[in-house]
Amino acid sequence: MQPFQFTRATTPDQAIQAHAATSARFVAGGTNLIDMMKLDVEQPTTLIDINELTLSAITPTPNGGLHLGALSRNSDVAHHPAVLRDYPVLSQAILSGASPQLRNMASTAGNLLQRTRCVYFRDTAFPCNKREPGSGCSAIDGFNRNLAILGTSKDCIATNPSDQNVALTALEATIHIQGKSGSREVPIHNFYVVPGSTPHIETILQPGDLIIGVTLPPPHPNVRSLYLKLRDREAYEFALASAAVQLGTQGNRITFARIALGGVGTKPWRSLEAERALEGHTVDIATFRRAAQEALRDARPQSENAFKVDLSQRCIVRALTLATKSA
């Protein structure tokens, strides 16, 4: 591991000042960053411990939503009564990922910035445009079974690995950021960027930007939410395909739909196409199948992952079917 300067920040302003250098990193849980530092994939020259900032609280917002502090731990969010009651999709998504130990450490904001599990990104012996811009993509002609089919480019097909972020996308969460020039709020839909020709840029965050927290909008009345994750083994494994859905119905008609996909996109994948194919249509399997087809219409499979087109569609249909059945 490369040496680094270690500092502790006790206020957000201190943290933001210390983050001025582009090679500085904030550390909260450390579960993803320290793993990558051991692999020399991350080589920060300055590490800023932000665990003393008072950003751990999970609190109701005045309009009936819920604020998750940046440092709230994944296990605390997943087991929080308000999350279990109003946003079960988020609890299910978090509990489907990592392990109990890792969820006790990992923070909400750290999970937002979780990096891809693409094996070529994690192995410095191979070229990778995300790790070393311009070096090439080893995955396109390599082992790509686990990698993305939506939002890819000729330079990168890495999958966003998070479950939490898929649920937050379906919930239309807002990311609160404090930076050198003040605070701003960004809808999660606009927080992540697709790789294009700059796969090393994954979000709209700038140097000095500190995530303060995430706000969930008030729960929609009469809407059920659910997370379904498909993977090679039932625990401790990343998604091959997952779906976070919010579905509201009135009689036999769909009045509200939010669909986000995991395991298939270069970012947590909101499917506005699927939502359009659902809202206003009848609650039946044909509608669900049509929405699933719409969601994957632009899929571009690689040599080993064409199966994900079908798997992701089945995942969507199954999640919607379960959402209409769950009380």
Binding site: F6, G30, I34, D35, D49, S99, P100, Q101, N104, M105
Partner: protein
């Protein structure tokens, strides 16, 4: 890590009564020399000559309670830190790259916590921080100035086992034993977590701990016995 490649007699570990007490540590080095203490001291001395991280480790082997290292005394590149482990405070100067796991094993002479994958995938390094189970391999020691850290040495000793340790022995919840301290630390945490009553619930709660010998049925039996007792 060299000492871990040599098969160890369980009895040797159990002889170390208070590794944080300097007189006992020196006693074990000069008087009764066990394989573990001989190799671990040899390892520290051998590496101390060459690298900064173990300069910090050599400093930690000094009687710590009496001589708190000050900022001025800290070797270059190290960070002063006080860690509270198993109820005892330790003043250390550490290379910030030192993981909590390596600090426990190499600096504080608490080798009960094991290094398996070193990447948060196997659970062998599971300890408790403020009562919650975590992977000590994915955290830097300097990130824990105000935390209560508990290791397998802190939950029980051969003459007063934690009920979970006793249950693992009773149910033969291990073969090679390498994952066992991590399994037990996870299992003790499960007693306080919202986990359902069935064996399947226990399996699900324990999936962050891998046992390559496959002692899983016996581990589940041990955990369930203690849950039913408490």
């Amino acid at each position: 890590m060299a000492q871990e490649t040599i098969p160890l007699d369980d009895k040797e570990e159990s002889k170390s009564t208070d590794p944080t007490n300097p007189s006992e540590r020196h006693g074990s080095l000069l008087g009764h020399v066990s394989r573990r203490s001989f190799l671990s001291h040899l390892g520290a001395a051998g590496i101390a000559a060459t690298t900064a991280p173990v300069l910090a480790s050599a400093a930690a082997l000094e009687p710590t309670a009496q001589h708190a290292p000050t900022q001025a005394r800290a070797p270059a590149g190290t960070v002063p830190i006080t860690l509270k482990v198993n109820g005892q405070s330790h003043n250390l100067s550490l290379d910030p790259r030192t993981t909590l796991l390596d600090c426990l094993r190499e600096n504080l002479n608490l080798p009960g916590t094991k290094k398996g994958c070193d990447h948060g995938q196997c659970g062998a390094c599971t300890i408790h921080v403020n009562g919650r189970r975590v992977n000590s391999c994915l955290s830097f020691a300097v990130m824990h100035p105000n935390d209560e850290i508990t290791t397998i040495e802190g939950i029980g000793q051969p003459d007063h086992l934690h009920p979970m340790q006793a249950a693992f022995i009773e149910h033969d919840g291990y073969q090679c034993g390498y994952c066992t301290s991590g399994q037990i630390m996870s299992a003790v945490a499960v007693l306080k977590e919202p986990v359902g009553p069935t064996d399947d619930h226990v399996k699900h709660a324990m999936y962050g701990n891998i046992c390559r010998c496959g002692a899983y049925p016996n581990i589940v039996a041990a955990v369930q016995q203690v849950r039913h007792q408490s």
